[in-house]
Structures are given as C-alpha cells and as structure tokens.
C-alpha cells in the first residue's frame, strides 16, 4: 500500500479513535486517567504523522497552483477515506468519496442526493485537527487530580468532545459537518452540568445547550436551503456535471432535413450535500442570467452567419439563373446543361442554407425563451443569499460567540471544570469561525461581501470593545479570560470577513494561535483552582516571588495573548490587520474595522496587564489553600503541560511560515471566491 492509502486510513482513525476511546474509558475505573493520557498521546502521534506527511502534499499543491496561475474556486480535500479511485489505483484521486450514509434518491442507479461519510484534509483544517488532537494532552494533565467523581466517564466525554471537534473540522459533506457540529454539544453539556465547579453548573449547562442548539437549528435550515437552491447542473444526456445551467441538446424535429435540431434546454438539476460540488454549483446559479445571455448571443451570432449565407446563396442562385438564361439564348446544348446543373446546385445549396438558418433561428428562439426564467433564477439566487447567510450565521455566531449572542459564555466558562474550558475556548469556539470559513464564505459569497463586514463586522467590532471592557471590570480571572476570548474572536471574525488572502490567512492562523494561548491561560488557572479553589483576583498578590516558574510561564502566555511580537498571536493579528486595510468592499470604504481592531489590541494589553499586576505584583497575598500538603510551585505535570504550550506559542511566533504555506492554496481558493463575488 502506498503512503496515501495508509494516510486515508489514518485520517479515518483520527475520528474513530476518540469515539472508541470514549466507549472504553468509562470501563477502566481507576486506570482511566492513565489510559486517557496514553490514548491522547497515541492520537497525538497519529496526528503528527498526518501533519508530517500532509505538509509535502499540500506544498506540492501550492507549487502546482502557482504554476497554473490558480483560479480554482473549489476546495480539494486530500486523503479522503473511501476515495472513488482508491480501489483501482492508490495514487489517483479526485477527492470524492464513495462511502454513502444515506441515499435520498428513488432508485440506486440514479445519481442523487446522497449524504456521504466524506472526510478529508486540506490546508484549512490540517492545523486545527492538530490543535484538537494536541490540546487534549494538557487538558488531561491539568484535570489529573481535579476529577474525583467517576473519572472514567469524565475522560470518556472529553474524548467524545474531541471526536466531534475533529469530525467537524474534517467533514466535507455539509450534513456530516452539521452532525459533528451538534455532536460536540452533548459531551459539553454533561461535562459542564456534572463536573462543573460552581453551584450554578446545571443552569449554565442548560443555558449553553439550549442557546447553541437554537442557533444551530437555524444553521441546519440554512444548510438545507443552500442544498435545495443550489443543485448541480448535469447534462441531461451524458449525466456529467456541466459548467453551464443551459446546455445545447439535439431534439428530434420533423421539419428539419436531418430529422433533428438543436435547442438550448435547462441542465438537469441534481441535489448534493458534498461541499466541493455545492461550491461548484453556487456560482452557476448566481450567474444563470449571464449564462443564458451568453447562450443567446452565441445562437444569434450563428443565426446572423446563417442569414448571411442564405443571402449569398440567393445572390448566387440569381447569378446562375441569369447565366442559364444567357446559355439558353446561345442555344448551345452542352452549355445549357452545364448551366442547368450549376443552377440546380446553387438551388440545393440555398435550400441547405435555409434549413441551416431555420435551425439557428430555432436555437436562438429556445435561448430567448429561457432567458426570462434564467433572469428570475439568478435574481432568486441573489435574494436568497441574504436569508441563507442569516440562517447559516445564526448558529455560528452563537458558537463563536459574536456579540450580542455571547451571554451563555461567561456562565458556561465560569462553571465548567478547567480542562473542559480549555477545550471549549480553544476549540469549540473555533467551530463557529471555522464554519464561517468552511460554509458561509464559499456557499453564500455574495452575501458575505454585502453583509459580512458591514453588518457582522459591526457586531464583531462592538464585541471587541464591549468584551474588553467587561474583562476590565471582571474580578475573577476566569471571567476575565472568558471575556478576553470574546474580544479576540471578534477580531478573528473581522479578519474572516475581510475576505482576502491576508485576512483569511490571519484568521485561520489566529484560530490556532488563539486556541493555544487562551487554552493555555485557562490551564494556568488550573494551578489556582487545584491549590486554592478560587480564581478571584483580589485574593492574590505578589505571586512572582512565591511561584517564579509559574510567573515566567504565565507571563509568556499572557503576553502571547496580548500580541507581543515573537509570540504567536502577533503574526496572525498583523495579517488580519493587513487584510482589513484592503477589504476592497463596496460597503466599507474607510478603515474603521482596522482602527477598531488595533484599538482592541491596546485594550487587550490593558486588561491582561491589569490582571498580571494584581496577581503577580504587589505584596504577597494568598488565600487559604484547600489542599493539606504545602503549596509549591508548578509540579512536573503542570510544568510539562504549560511549558509545552508556551514553547509552541514561541515557535509559532518565530516560524509561522510553514503553517501559512500549507494553507496558502486553500486560502487562495477562498480569496478567488471573494474576488468573483466582488465583481458580480
């Protein structure tokens, strides 16, 4: 088996392994946390292998695209399990799967709407999958001593959460995406409600569950709407997808000498749930009128040519007839016969050309007939974009969350155990932003240009400042970081809707960076909760001298979150800022998003440094510890978790180009979609 074939299996394992782990772990009892760590490490190893092998493939693709001058508008997943060509040839691949979960068509021979188990790797999800795999390790290490009640189930739910996250990142079938998207809710609900730290945990869990579910049901509506309104145009005779919604076919025609004539007809429409196929279809319907117009122009030109030929034929015939008359005057038998033959020939030619002209007229008529319908379809598609955009965004905005749909977050983060908050803030929030990149931008591109920055951008900007002020007023570190997360994600949403290479590269990179640094900051809080059972700022002070190692690690992570150069967030923030400087958006002519974003960076420094000042500076102050053993600086377990996160922040800050290079082709695809939408 070739490496690609092995990788297909490994990609499948990335989702299946956490699912299986989630089943096994509850049975292991007191061995469960060691087993959990082991399983997480094995999963990390698998992911590392995928990353290492995917990088060259993706880099190769970037080179290919650079050679071809890439204008691609469709995502191209690699290492798809169940690839259509996999059974014949290991290397050949068209990035489509043949693993169908549900067949919605009447009979199986018809290509129809199939929900498929369609997973794959591309530049956008590779690093997020890596983060989802990696972040579980520190999450388990931080939860080591905190879970007394049924640790097996706790770790099992954690793995189920991870399976949902990874599945969602990997999915290329919109329904599969939605299923994994919702799958994350169930473990999160139980983890918050059952192992939460505060008294309000059940209420928080219920609020979180219902709020996000309400939003994501709308997203499901949007997904179905997109699927229904964007069928793939298929050639009615060959059955292959066509580039055009109008196709030229031969129809039987008694009036024509050949018995057939050509007509423009609508392509057959086949519904699909495959994201790449949908991406192919969306622009077709948005340009249906243009396609019909082109067809009509083509037919009219043909008609004009035919008409000219007919005129030439008539002239020719007249000449021949004159020549015949002249020959008849001359009474030369041979000459008359020759002239008669010529006349007959000319007549025949003229008849042919007339038939040809009639065929062209018929073709043009068919195109003219379709034009109003095409115009209606295009107008329809454009108008629907707005509603689909609203529906799709509803669930994603709650998930991120974008202001003012964030009110579930402070409660959920405040009540959830630290290990879970790490995954919630580091990864689950990214499902929302990832959904925008994966679904919203490609499927409703015109609305994303029209309403993205002007409407969602305003909400995100308000959120940046609003959440920063909330963070400033928070007295609890956990709440402060929770609000800071809302603020940073507002910046990320702005970056996404800049809808250009810089903004999107920055946004996708920021998903990883923010996941690392915010996840890590919550992990730091684990230090406080395990020892003191509180994260209230007023009860701490001067810890720099008391816990020097913790201080160094916290400073690195906090400064990474502030966006200090040399650490990871700086790079992605600068890219997004650059993206906001050239949005090229007809509705946003000045630079207000960039100004708000830059001001947000300043506010970020304000509340973060305020936290550091209160907790690590000033005279020593610490509350009564909840443990009986002496309170010491970070232990080896915590040091390896936090140190690894801090190191990754530094590495990604200094050498981010590898990550940026692998995502470049796919970012380019999205940027192309954006450019196409701008010209429409």
């Amino acid at each position: 088996m070739s490496i690609t074939a092995v990788l297909r299996i490994v990609v499948l394992l990335l989702v299946l392994m956490p699912l299986v782990s989630a089943l096994i772990l509850p049975m292991l009892g007191r061995w469960s946390r060691r087993a959990a760590l082991l399983l997480a490490l094995v999963h990390g190893g698998l992911t590392a292998a995928v990353v290492a092998l995917a990088i060259p493939t993706l880099a190769l693709r970037a080179d290919d695209d650079a050679r071809r001058g890439s204008g691609s508008l469709v995502f191209q997943p690699e290492f798809v399990p169940g690839d259509t060509y996999a059974r014949f040839n290991d290397e050949g691949s068209d990035g489509r799967t043949r693993w169908t979960l549900f067949r919605l068509s009447a009979n199986s021979s018809q290509p129809g709407p199939n929900i498929q188990f369609f997973l794959g790797i591309d530049g956008l999800n590779l690093w997020l999958v890596a983060l989802a795999s990696f972040l579980l390790v520190p999450a388990i290490l931080i939860s080591w001593n905190t879970v007394a009640d049924q640790p097996g189930s706790y770790f099992g739910w954690l793995f189920l959460l991870q399976a949902g996250l990874i599945g969602c990142f990997l999915a290329f079938d919109v329904i599969l995406f939605y299923v994994f998207f919702e799958l994350t809710l169930i473990p999160a609900f139980f983890l918050i409600g059952r192992w939460g730290v505060g008294s309000g945990r059940r209420d928080a869990a219920r609020k979180f569950f219902l709020y996000t579910l309400a939003g994501s049901l709308l997203t499901l509506l949007g997904i179905i709407g997109v699927v229904l309104t964007n069928p793939v145009p298929v050639h009615p005779e060959t059955g292959f997808p066509t580039q055009n919604v109008l196709v030229k076919v031969e129809v039987p025609d008694a009036g024509s000498p050949t018995g057939k004539s050509r007509e423009f007809v609508w392509a057959k429409r086949i519904h699909t749930f495959s994201l790449p196929d949908l991406m192919n279809a969306v622009p077709r319907w948005l340009t249906a009128e243009k396609a019909a117009q082109t067809a009509l122009t083509e037919a009219q030109r043909e008609m004009e040519l035919a008409q000219a030929l007919v005129r030439a034929g008539e002239k020719e015939l007249a000449q021949r007839r004159a020549a015949l008359e002249a020959a008849r005057q001359g009474k030369d038998g041979a000459a008359i016969r020759a002239a008669e033959a010529a006349e007959q020939h000319a007549l025949q030619m003229l008849n042919d050309w007339r038939a040809n002209w009639q065929a062209a007229v018929r073709l043009s008529d068919s195109a003219t007939k379709l034009l109003p319908e095409a115009r209606r379809l295009q107008a329809n598609a454009s108008q629907l974009q707005f509603w689909l955009f609203v529906a799709l965004m509803a669930g994603l905005m709650v998930k991120v969350p974008v202001w003012p749909f964030h009110t579930w977050l402070p409660a959920a983060y405040g009540e959830a155990p630290i290990g879970v908050v790490m995954l919630l803030s580091g990864l689950m929030a990214k499902l929302g932003t990832f959904g925008m990149v994966r679904l919203v931008l490609p499927l409703v591109p015109d609305a994303a240009i029209h309403y993205g920055l002007p409407v969602i951008g305003v909400l995100a900007s308000v959120g940046i400042v609003y959440a920063a002020f909330c963070a400033l007023a928070s007295k609890d570190m956990k709440l402060l970081i929770a609000y800071s997360s809302i603020s940073h994600l507002g910046f990320l949403v702005l970056g996404i809707f800049a809808f250009n290479s810089e903004g999107l590269s920055g946004a996708v990179l920021h998903m990883i960076n923010h996941g690392l640094s915010t996840g890590a900051l919550f992990a730091v809080l684990g230090f406080f909760t395990t020892r003191y059972g509180t994260t209230e700022m007023a009860r701490f002070g001067g810890l720099m001298g008391r816990f020097p190692v913790l201080a160094v690690l916290t400073f690195v992570l906090a400064l990474a979150s502030v966006g200090l150069p040399g650490l990871n967030n700086f790079v992605s923030e600068m890219l997004m800022l650059a993206g906001l400087f050239r949005t090229n958006n007809p509705h946003v002519t000045n630079l207000w998003p960039a100004v708000v974003a830059a001001f947000g960076i300043f506010l970020g420094a304000w509340y973060t440094l305020t936290m550091l000042q209160r907790v690590f500076f000033n005279p020593l102050k610490e509350p009564q510890p909840i443990i009986t053993t002496p309170v010491n600086d970070v232990n080896n377990r915590e040091f390896s978790a936090l140190g690894l996160l801090a190191l990754l922040c530094l590495v990604l800050g200094l050498f981010p180009q590898l990550v940026l290079d692998t995502m470049k082709p796919d970012i380019q695809i999205l940027a192309n979609i954006g450019d196409a939408a701008r010209t429409r």
Binding site: A473, S505, P565, G566, M574, L575, F602, L612, N618, P619
Partner: protein, 651 residues
C-alpha cells in the same frame, strides 16, 4: 552576506546570548552571583565590534549594507522579512548603545549586589540591550515593531522589578500601556504605508517606492502622523509623557539605561530612520516640531518644582527629547541631513550626560539608604566627593555650559531652528516661535539642573536617618563608570562635531538622509554661528547664576509670588489627575456599566427563552380537564361555524 552585516549580527547575538546565560545562571546560587558577567562582557565585546564596524563604515565602499531577507511570515501581499541594514545612522546608534550599556552594566553589578532578583535583573537588561540593537538594525517595519515591543516589554519588567512595591507595579503597567497606546497608531501607520507603498514592508524598498510613486499627500501626512504617535509614546512626548517620570520606580541603572541609551531614544531614531517620508510632509513636520516644543517647555517647567532627584532628571529627559523632536521637525524646511544630524548629535551627547546623571543619582541614593528626596539631604560634597564631581560634569553638560558636550549639540538644534525659520517653508514663522521656545527652555534647563545640584551637594551637611551613620562613597565598580562617563559628558561633543563636523558628515552618508530631498529644503552649511553661541551660553550661565543665588545654601526657601507656580510644577500641573479623571476613571466606570449591561443582556436572552413557557401558561387553562367545559366549547364552536356558513350562503 557582506562583512558589515555579519558584524552587526554578531553585535545582536552577543546580548541575546548574555540574556540566556544570565537566565540560566539563576538555577544555581553560585552562578547566580556571576549573572552580571555575561552582560558586561557581551556589551564590552559588542562595543568593540561596533567600533570595528564604525571603521568599516568609514572607509567602506557602500553607504548601506543590507542582509539577505529571510521570510518571517507572508500571505497575500504582506511579506514580512527578517532583514537588517547597516548604515551610518545605525552604526552611530549601535556604538552609543553598547558603550553606554557596558558602563551601566558595570555600575549595576555594584549597585544591585546581593539583590534577590540579581539574575532576573541582568537577564532582562541583556534582553533590553538586544532589543534596542535589533530595533536600530531592523530593515523591516514589522521586525522593527517586534524589537520596539521587545524594548517595551523589558522596560515593563525592569520598571516593575521591585514587584512587591505597588507603586512600581503601577508604574510598570502605566509605562507599557501608555507606550502601547502610541503603538496602536504606529501599527495603523505602518499598514497605511504598506497599502500605499506597493505592498513593501522593508524600509528601503518602501521608501524607494514612495519616492518614485508619490502618493496622495494627505494620506502620506496621515501615515507620518500615525508613525509619530508611536514615537510620542515611546519617547515620552506630550501628551503621552506621563509614564516616564513614574518609570524611575525601577532600579536606578534601569532609569539610566531607559533615559540614555535605550527605549526613549527609539522614537527619535524611528523618525530619523523615516526621514525620507517625513521630509515630504511639511504639515507632519511642523506637528512634530510643535509637539517637541510643547514637551520641551512643559517638562522643563515641571522639573522646576520637583523635590525627587530622579524625577527632576526624568523630566529633563522628556524636555531634552522634545528638543530632539524640534530638530527632527525642521527636516524638509532645511536639508534633512542637517536636521536629523542635529537631533542625532543631541541624542548622542545626551546619552552620555544623562546616563552619568542617573548613575550619579543612583550613587547618591545608594549612600543615602535609598532616599532620593533632595529636601532631606544636603551638602554631600564631602561625603561623596567623586559622585559630586561627576554629577557636576553631567549637570554642566545638561545645562549647556559652553564647550561641554550638551552645549555643542543644543547649539546645533538652535541653529537648525533658526535656519528653518528663514527657509521657504510655509511654516517658517512657527519655527521662529519654536526657536524662542527652545531658548527659554535652555534657560530653564540650566536653572532646574543646578537647583538640584546645589540642593544636593551644597550647604550644611544633612544626611537622612535611613542612611545610618555609614554614608560613604560608592565602591569602585560604581565610581569607575561614573568617571568614564563624566569624561564622555565633558569632551565627546566637542571632539566629534563643532570644528571637524565629523559626526554630521558621517551621519550624512546614510542613504536615507541623502536619497530623498524635499523640494523646498534649504541647504545649510556647517559653521560656527557666534550669535547663537553667545545667546545659548548666556542663557545657560544666567540659569546657573540664578540657581546659585537662590539655592547655594542647600535649602529651599520661600520665594513669594513664584511659590504658587512652583507648587503647580511640583504637582505636575495635575496632569496625572486630569488624565485619571478624564480617561482612566471614565473607562473604569464604562467598564463597570458594560459589565452591568451584560447582566441585563443575559436577562433579555432569558426573557426570549421564557417566551414559549409564557405562551404555554396563557393557553394551559384551556386544557382544564372538565368535560362540561369541553362540551360547551364544542357547542360554541359549532354554533360559530354554522353561523358563518349560513351567513356566507345568504350573501
């Protein structure tokens, strides 16, 4: 890679290595005591390398060497490189930074002796020097920002070095945040330049692109002013100067480093580096010069009434930086090489005497048991003979006593201002006002400097109780740096500039100063302007004499009408209070209100969520389980329906 850039990289690598070594030394109690060695050795070696580099640049074939760019991050049109450039401007800065830092490091090894965070101190100091060297060498705007923020981080950590002191913690945060506020503008300016500069972020390419494709002047002016925001924050100019006087909460050597060689000079350097942009925008330049003028006068006024020796020095730094910005602001009206040369020359001499003054103040503080209030001690001439002399050298240089370093450089700035006021610039009148302002400031500078000097060292001997009975001169490791810097403060200005013009000629070879010429720039010849020399000399002497008359007995005494003015100065014109009331407090209140509103928003969400239940509560009574009620409802319903049907049919 060409030779000078490798040398520059070596200079950059040395303090970085020192930072790592000092950090590692903290692991062990014995090595921790040696944590100062890496910094001293690295700075000394770097200073030697800088001198070699200077030699290479002097007889070099090219005026600028640029290293091969290595990609840091790139996406779309944004391409950010690790790349450094070596030219005269960078070389002078490198030499100055490493030289001053060497002696500050030596001084600190004595001053910080036995402190708990000895290793931490030297690790951060090394990183500070590294960041500053990197800032000077960076040839890419975002790389420059990286080192710029690195400098900010180190100042944050060092100002907050005594982390258990609440005032130090507050000062550290204030320093970082106020400079960060300026940096917000700086970043926006960089991206604006990126947008109109053909997608370049490398300085040389960007400048060349803007020179060849002149953008919209309004936009360019905006970009320049945004860049200037960064400089205002970092170099403590009005209105963001408030962090610098507080920043002396850190150990005194840190203040010396911040005020002399690193940090505050970064803003001046940024504008010098970006001179090719600024000379194209006369509007931006008059703003730069104006802000510099306001700052110079304001800070000099604030220094008048202070009783904290370090605070007086801090305000004098702010004021002197204002001088440099005034000079920078004349570029474009006069030839940029002259304007930038004047600013950089003052930066150069100022580094010597300000480092000297701060270290001397540190020596006083060391002897007085960390008391720094000049009203609590006096007459220290006998107790601290070496410190007294070195402080006097520094004070005289700062005051602009003729023939000392500060005199020559201040003279050059005054000259650039007079030349600008005679130029064809539309704002020549403004430059004349600034010239008068600079003269007034010069007089004030001499006065407050010598006020501090007389109050500290003259009059009857008075030593605070904290010093105990063992007030004595500092150890050798502290006095040697003082003496070296004193020599520098006295002579360095006279040696390098006034008669040979060596400094400005060398600086003038920087391509960034020669390549772009403003259309209206007035060419200026270097010559000794005797009128100016006599004006500035008499101002300096007048200030000193006035201070002598008032304070020669080492005591503050009531001065009648001026006292209210001095009290106003002592209270810093209540600027901190005003900022607190106008910015910080409203922000805090707003934050509180937003937090409250967030609860309200949550309630609103809950209300929406409760709607179905509310609706259910309204309808629920209908399903009351009484068969009679159902029968009645059925009968009523049927009646209504039948009535409706009949009514329709009848119509």
């Amino acid at each position: 890679m060409s030779e000078p850039t490798s040398l520059a990289l070596a200079i950059l690598a040395l303090p970085l290595a020192a930072a790592v070594l000092a950090w590692l030394s903290a692991a062990n109690a014995t090595t921790k005591k040696l944590a100062h060695l890496p910094l001293i050795l690295a700075c000394a070696a770097a200073a030697v390398l800088a001198v070699i580099l200077l030699g290479q640049m002097l007889d070099g074939h090219e005026s600028r060497y640029t290293s091969e760019p290595l990609t840091w991050f790139a996406a779309g049109q944004l391409d950010v490189h690790f790349t450094i450039t070596v030219d005269a401007l960078a070389t002078v800065m490198l030499g100055m930074i490493t030289f001053i830092a060497t002696f500050i490091a030596l001084f600190s090894s004595g001053y910080m002796h036995g402190d708990r965070g000895y290793a931490r101190f030297f690790a951060v100091m090394s990183f500070f020097v590294f960041s500053m060297c990197g800032l000077v060498l960076a040839n890419n705007f975002l790389l420059l920002v990286a080192f710029w923020e690195g400098v900010g981080l180190c100042s944050y950590l060092l100002v907050g070095y005594y982390f258990e002191k609440p005032s130090a913690a507050a000062a550290a945060r204030k320093a970082f945040l106020v400079t960060r506020l300026g940096d917000t503008g700086f970043l926006l300016g960089i991206f604006l330049l990126w947008k109109m500069g053909g997608g370049h972020t490398d300085l040389d390419l960007l400048f060349a692109h803007i020179r060849d494709h002149p953008p919209d002047p309004g936009l360019l002016t905006t970009a320049c002013l945004l860049l200037f925001c960064g400089a205002v924050g970092k170099s403590a100019q009005f209105p963001l100067y408030v962090w610098l006087p507080d920043a002396m909460e850190g150990p005194t050597p840190v203040s010396a480093l911040i005020h002399a060689a690193t940090m505050v000079t970064a803003g001046v350097y940024l504008l010098a580096r970006c001179a090719p942009l600024f000379v194209l925008c006369p509007e931006a330049q008059i703003v730069v010069a104006g802000v510099g003028g306001i700052t110079a006068l304001l800070a000099a006024f604030l220094a008048l009434g202070q009783t904290d020796l370090k605070r007086i020095l801090a305000y004098s730094t702010v004021s002197q930086l204002g001088y440099m910005f005034m000079a920078l602001g004349t570029g474009g009206a006069i030839s940029p090489a002259f304007a930038v040369g004047a600013a950089m020359f003052h930066l150069f001499t100022h580094a010597f005497f300000k480092a000297l003054l701060f270290l001397s103040a540190g020596s006083v503080m060391h002897a007085m048991g960390n008391v720094i209030d000049i009203t609590r001690f006096s007459g220290l001439r006998k107790v601290l003979p070496i410190t007294h002399l070195t402080f006097l050298c520094g004070a005289a240089a700062l005051a602009g006593v003729p023939l000392l370093s500060g005199f020559w450089s201040k003279d050059l700035i005054l000259e650039s201002l007079t030349e600008a006021s005679e130029s064809a610039s539309p704002y020549s009148a403004g430059y004349f006002v600034l010239f008068l302002n600079a003269c007034l400031t010069a007089g004030l500078t001499a006065f407050y400097t010598f006020r501090a000097y007389f109050l500290t060292f003259w009059g009857p001997e008075k030593i605070p109780a904290e010093a105990g009975d063992h007030a004595h001169e500092s150890p050798r490791s502290m006095t040697i740096p003082l003496m070296v810097l004193a020599v520098g403060a006295v002579f360095v200005g006279g040696v390098v500039q006034p008669f040979t013009h060596w400094f400005s000629d060398f600086l003038g070879t920087s391509p960034s100063l020669t390549e772009t010429q403003a259309p209206i720039a007035r060419a200026v010849e270097h010559h000794l302007n005797w009128t100016l020399i006599s004006i500035s000399a008499s101002l300096a002497i007048a200030g000193i004499v006035l201070a002598y008359v008032l304070y020669r007995d080492g005591q503050e005494k009531p001065l009648g009408g001026i006292d209210t003015l001095l009290a106003l100065s002592r209270n810093k014109l209540y600027v901190d209070e005003v900022y607190y009331a106008l910015i910080v407090r409203p922000a805090e209140v707003l934050a509180f209100l937003v937090r409250v509103f967030d609860g309200f928003l949550d309630g609103l969400t809950r209300l929406v969520a409760a709607m179905p239940r509310l609706l259910a509560a309204l309808i629920r009574p209908l399903q009351n389980g009484l068969v009679q009620f159902y029968a009645l409802a059925m009968a009523l319903g049927l009646t209504v329906f039948v009535a409706f049907v009949i009514f329709r049919m009848a119509r």
